[in-house]
């Protein structure tokens, strides 16, 4: 197929003779990403199983020995990373070595294990549990920025969430948090705004601009889920919250439009949930007599959203 196509393009004078030859070349197949996935799975299995092993055998191995082993491994990992690192740069560092990514990841995981171990066993930070999360979080952020590692950055953000009292990994965001608690909602909003601000700063100051997607992704999802919960929770204030909601949708739409269709689609869907809630609440407030209008609303809004999505698509294409 490719060859006949290339011939056709050559005939119509769209490509040069040399390009025709290039297109005919069969390249070697790259199994780069396949091998990396296997490697990742291996690292995941080893670190998890080591954790369980340590946990189960604490009594027979002894705390001191374990602490020494973990510390030595961790120091070895970080030493290796420092030795091979290019140093801090505010732009993206293109790693030539596959290994540095994984060794850093293992080092960071060991760091978390070590701090948690010290806290649970020896109460290193006493009753100040927050500190036991805060210190590794800072170290993770430093490692993420210094070695340019998005995975470690995600770990740091998760730790930041844990420190603030919220589980923000994708599946646990809704599962483990009780969004009917005022504290969780407010924390979610503050943290969400902070993460979105970090995204904007990293883009505008060009400090690790490629980190901004990760910040935005955590920030926007957290923010929207929190503010939607507030909308559902404070029934008396819902119009005010809806107003804030609309303003933030506009703002987030502005920062997403350039960067990611995924975030854009999420923003539209979250806005749809908020809008639909307010409309249905008003329609079905006194009785079920408006049930027809409600059903019609969903049909028409569905059709309307198709137009919205197509318009967004056009805008993205232009940019």
């Amino acid at each position: 197929m490719t060859n006949t196509l290339a011939d056709k393009l050559l005939e119509s004078n769209l490509i040069t003779e040399k390009e025709r030859e290039n297109m005919g070349d069969t390249e070697p197949l790259s199994v780069h990403w396949d091998l990396r996935s296997i490697l990742y799975l291996g690292v995941l299995l080893v670190t998890t199983s080591l954790g369980i092993l340590i946990y189960k055998n604490i009594d027979s191995i002894g705390h001191d020995v374990l602490l020494i082993i973990i510390s030595v491994l961790m120091v070895a990992c970080f030493a290796w990373c420092f030795k091979n690192a290019t140093g801090f740069r505010s732009s993206k560092i293109n790693n030539t070595s596959i290994w540095s990514d994984y060794i850093l990841l293992v080092g960071c995981l060991l760091l978390l294990t070590l701090v948690a171990y010290l806290q649970f066993q020896y109460q290193l930070f006493g009753n100040r549990w927050g500190l036991a999360l805060f210190i590794p979080m800072i170290l993770l952020f430093i490692a993420a920025y210094y070695f340019d590692h998005i995975g470690v950055l995600s770990l740091a953000i998760t730790n930041l969430g844990a420190w603030a009292g919220i589980a923000i990994t994708p599946t646990k965001l809704l599962q483990n948090n009780d969004f009917s608690q005022e504290k969780v909602m407010f924390t979610g909003i503050v943290l969400g705004i902070f993460l979105i601000a970090m995204a904007i700063i990293s883009e505008s100051r060009k400090i690790k601009a490629h980190f901004s997607f990760t910040y935005k992704n955590f920030g926007i999802n957290l923010f929207f889920i929190s503010i939607l919960s507030m909308l559902f929770y404070y029934e008396n204030l819902y119009l005010l919250i809806f107003l804030i909601f609309c303003i933030s949708v506009w703002f987030i739409y502005k920062i997403c439009i350039k960067s990611s269709t995924y975030l854009l689609v999420m923003t539209v869907l979250y806005s749809y949930i908020g809008l639909s809630y307010v409309i249905i609440r008003n329609l079905l407030f006194d009785s079920m007599s408006n049930i027809y209008i409600t059903v019609l609303y969903f049909i028409l809004s569905g059709i309307g959203l198709i137009a919205v999505f197509k318009n967004l698509q056009k805008k993205i294409r232009i940019q």
Partner: protein, 381 residues
Amino acid sequence: MIAYAINELLNCHILEQGRENFHASKISQKSFQKIEGSYSCKLYTPGLFIAIGLGLVTTIALIFTAVLVGLMTSFSNFEAFAGISIFMTILSYFLLEGMVKSKRYFNAGVDNALMILVLGFTAGIFIISEINTPWILFNVIMMAVALWLSVRFTDALMAIISCAFFFVLCFLLLMKLGISAIFYFPFVMMLLSGSLYFIVKNTSKKVSFVYEKCMTVLSIFLLVVFYASGNYWVINEIQMTVFNEPVMLSFGWFYWIFTFAIPFLYIVYGIAKKDLIPIRTGIFLVMAAILTYKYFFTMLPLEIEMLLLGIVLITVAYFLIKWLRQTRRGFTSQIISPRPEWKNIEGLIIAETMSGGDKTIQDDNLFSGGSGGGGGASGDF
């Protein structure tokens, strides 16, 4: 027979190939612009996420249309429900035809959602009725509808669904011969899926480029089905469901060999044929084989097994990455294509799988709760 003009599909195909070659820096930007100038793609294919969004809202609109129809007819019995399903099937299909014709949707989410809805409402006609569902007829009709949709709209998902209904149909027909026919079922399935795989492989070069994607996806599906039809766990489950009691598999040793040998055979076959599809399928199925084994036997404590497996995986990956620095047998561990778009989510996967994540909120002061932790371990201390 195809809902799209062949010329239009061809233009898009050429443009796509041009873009691929441009990204692989095989042709210059100037040439690519020339190609863009001469071939324009008028079909509407948005990116993946926009398509998902479009599909979602289409589904919402159609489901609520069904609710509206239901409310207006104030249905009360199963016949009415079947009637609504028939109406909705026809409505969805005509919407699909109309949208594709007027708006030129091509894998735009709207058309994909409508195809799934056509199938779903068709199933609704059968399932929501008081009489016992005639399963054979049901499968024949579902298979035919999905096949028609896949041929007319060149849709890969419909191709798989059609094929799946075909296999279920074979199972039902075989069971007509009596309950003992279940013992031949694995071999019938192997024969069917195996021969279908080679038919698909051999014809995919001859059929028109419009079905290229259907053929690729179908071949992956058939590889998986072939494996499943001899997998010990699958056979065991099917026989247990049929006999309603735990069974002792005859030819058990054969199924065990099959369970472990086939994934590796796929990988070897893929390497020999320089085809990534059997290789990747094989890698996944190795995992399936291990899980199958784990389901029936425990040799070592779980964490030791995980540790050993992890070490094996890291070692294998390590040596292959080193060994394939230079291209060997047409394979390389170097990056040729740029980082795939979905790799953006790598960070999320790390956050999801490697952080403990369980949190505990202490009520007295705000920034106090939660637990970070790593490797799924630290949260337990």
